[in-house]
């Protein structure tokens, strides 16, 4: 999703990344991955819980995860040392001012996340909605 940052910003949105861990993890991540988006951490997982994101051994180790992990391993990708809570799953929301939620994606298991295309297409629809309203 990070790679889509220029296109997200081009559509008038900001990408905000929340991670699970300590502030130092965010600094290390920003420096090693050269992340330009605003980064925050939620060490107590309060926001993850309020967002209804999943947590648990089962969602972390489903057959789909193991298959994808094996495939990634075969392709030479190795996961680095995990920081934060390894059982916490993620998710993506598109939110407009006024607490208007326009897109929701709750990850079911590790490696499950929305494609950049899905996010950009949701932003495009919002842009069209706005444009349509202006023309009416």
């Amino acid at each position: 999703l990070r790679d889509a940052l220029p296109e997200i910003r081009h559509r008038g949105a900001e990408l905000i990344i929340v991670g699970n861990g300590q502030p130092q993890h965010a600094i290390d991540f920003r420096d090693s991955e050269q992340v330009e988006s605003p980064l925050y951490v939620d060490p107590e997982l309060h926001a993850y819980a309020a967002a209804g994101l999943k947590r648990g051994l089962r969602s972390s180790l489903s057959p789909g995860v193991i298959l994808r992990g094996l495939r990634a391993f075969g392709e030479g990708k190795r996961q680095g040392a995990t920081m934060g809570d390894p059982w916490q799953q993620g998710g993506v929301f598109i939110i407009r001012p006024g607490n208007r939620v326009e897109f929701t994606y709750i990850s079911e298991e590790a490696g499950d996340h929305p494609s950049a295309e899905a996010i950009l297409s949701a932003l495009d629809k919002l842009g069209r909605k706005k444009g349509g309203a202006a023309r009416r």
Partner: protein, 40 residues
Amino acid sequence: MNVAKRLENISVLDPTGRPVRLGDLWRDQLVVLAFIRHFG
């Protein structure tokens, strides 16, 4: 209650450790809010 309302009063920490209210992040702008599994 939708997820934005559930989240707006929760604070997260910026990289310097300063608390930031989530709702302030989308008060004036459209955001893609991505919760990642873990860093690294």
